[in-house]
């Protein structure tokens, strides 16, 4: 991926002596970095993980997006355009939210310092908190989230040290029917585990699409549909999951009504459970600080020009538009970069 696709592979002749900070280097952050670097701004990228790339490097499996394509793009930004990548540094405002991979954070940078030092700031921190269902016994060993599992796989591919091993055991239950669930299940199958896909949706209603679900079933996964996990059984470690059938009503892909049916409980023996039922946005702050308003669902409130409620601060990517695909995040980042350029040249 050449993030600086708007210009040639050479240093911009004129430099605009203005500094922009990009917080988060996922698809949105990197697309914005490329656009602004082409325009000749001094760009600094803050990333809490050891490598830039966000979920493209630390989540999505390599057979979908090869890591080297993303990392080569960031390398070009660094070497040709002089973009400064500050990896392993987490930006916080007020109380920090603990996230997956915070083990690799070496520096903590307060957001107010960044706002003071730069002429414009783009927050593109994405969605890194996995949702969990209201089930009993989720504190047992062997209950993981898909993001945790995928992060572990990617980190071990990149040979990062110090990450706790994830032992899945023989039978793995993957809860969910989205693209993240499909990726986690595929990885588990490739590792030689027996996968049970537990979902509310039938294959034809799954957000990932029946093509992906049926491909999984052909590869050896068992699909148990119209169920939710009521309780995780076992003492200390997962031994089984108690499932219950549900009545469900859809509006598009959104579930509007969900009712468990009494008396349909059954127990499926499992060694571990992976939950992949959605993600929550993770802005650098927990609640409204520095005049940056949050939305009802935890993201950052933005207007049509990607501005937040505070001057100089913009937001883009999944943290502003909700969990989506790479493409929508890229577009959001590019649009935000366009408006930042207009803002800094006083034409907004």
């Amino acid at each position: 991926m050449r993030f600086s696709f708007m210009c040639k592979r050479e240093k911009p002749e004129e430099r605009i002596g203005k500094k922009v900070a990009i917080i988060g280097s996922g698809p949105a952050g990197l697309a914005a970095t490329g656009y602004l670097a082409c325009k000749g701004y001094y760009v600094t990228v803050y990333e809490r993980l050891p490598y830039p790339g966000g979920l493209m490097v630390f989540g999505i499996p390599g057979f979908r997006i090869p890591k080297h394509r993303v990392l080569l793009g960031t390398k070009e930004l660094e070497e040709v355009f002089g973009v400064e990548f500050k990896t392993s540094s987490k930006v916080i405002a007020g109380d920090a939210v603990q996230l997956i991979g915070d083990k690799y954070v070496k520096r903590k940078v307060p957001l107010e310092n960044i706002i003071e030092e730069h002429d414009a700031i783009l927050i593109a921190t994405g969605t890194w908190i996995p949702r969990l269902p209201p089930a009993e016994g989720l504190d047992k060993k062997g209950v993981y989230t898909a993001l945790e599992y995928l992060f572990y796989k990617r980190a071990s591919e990149l040979e990062l040290k110090g990450i706790p091993r994830i032992e899945l055991g023989k039978r793995v239950g993957v809860v969910g029917a989205g693209l993240v669930a499909v990726d986690a299940a595929l990885e588990a199958i490739m590792d030689g585990h027996k996968v049970y896909l537990l979902s509310i949706e039938k294959p034809e209603e799954a957000p990932a699409g029946s093509y992906e679900i049926i491909k999984l079933i052909r590869k050896g996964a068992r699909h148990i549909q119209r169920v939710i996990v009521k309780r995780v059984l076992g003492d200390g470690k997962v031994k089984a999951a108690e499932l219950v059938n549900v009545h469900v009503k859809f509006e598009g892909f959104r579930i509007v009504e969900l009712k468990p049916i009494e008396g349909t409980e059954r127990v499926v023996e499992l060694d571990s459970l992976i939950f992949a039922i959605g993600q929550k946005p993770t802005p650098p702050m927990k609640k409204e600080v520095l005049g940056i308003k949050l939305t009802r669902w935890g993201g950052i409130e933005v207007d049509d020009y990607n501005r937040t409620t505070r001057d100089k601060v913009f937001a883009a990517g999944d943290v502003a538009i909700g969990p989506s695909k790479v493409g929508r995040a890229v577009k959001s980042g590019l649009r935000a970069a366009y408006w930042i350029d207009r803002y800094l040249t006083n034409t907004l």
């Binding site: 697309a31 034809e204 093509y211």
Partner: protein, 157 residues
């Protein structure tokens, strides 16, 4: 002679090409379409060698340029829509930006500046192939050869 093709096996349906195209041109000339099974497929102009749209255009607005891509000259287009009817894939569409027909021209203005098509530059999975015809043919042949050998190995063992 240059080619721009899509490797369907590598495409993950992330819609990046579509959104980057829309950002640059104002309208997406590359579309991501979904089947009933939600299998995503990127559809953009195939730049046919013997293009029906070029043959049918009454004002000669559509032509094949030096590098082998079908481009539309907006100042000649009268938006009659014949090309949309002639195209087997329904690629040319009315563009609200130029108020004429619009279609993928492999970023003709970017190529004039020495840049490459934006969708190819930004594709995360490397599904879009762009370059000299020979290079791409070689890539495809190598891939096909590998696949054939794989099939033979599977049959033998």
């Amino acid at each position: 002679m240059k080619w721009k093709l899509l490797d369907i096996e590598k495409c993950i349906g992330c819609e990046t090409c579509e959104h980057v195209c829309e950002f640059i041109h104002g309208v997406p000339y590359s579309m991501t379409v979904y089947t009933d099974e939600l299998f995503a497929l990127r559809i953009a102009c195939f730049h046919c060698k013997n293009a029906p749209c070029v043959n049918v255009c009454p004002t000669k607005a559509l032509k094949i340029d030096k590098e082998g891509f079908v481009v539309l000259r907006y100042f000649k287009c009268v938006a009659c829509g014949l090309c949309a009817t002639a195209c087997p894939f329904g690629i040319p569409r009315l563009s609200p930006v130029t108020r004429t027909m619009g279609k993928c021209h492999a970023c003709v203005e970017r190529r004039a500046e020495g840049l490459n098509p934006a969708c190819w530059e930004m594709c995360p999975s490397g599904a879009i192939m762009y370059g000299d015809m020979g290079e791409i043919l070689l890539k495809i042949l190598l891939k096909e050869k590998n696949a054939v050998t794989q099939r033979i190995i599977e049959k033998v063992t």
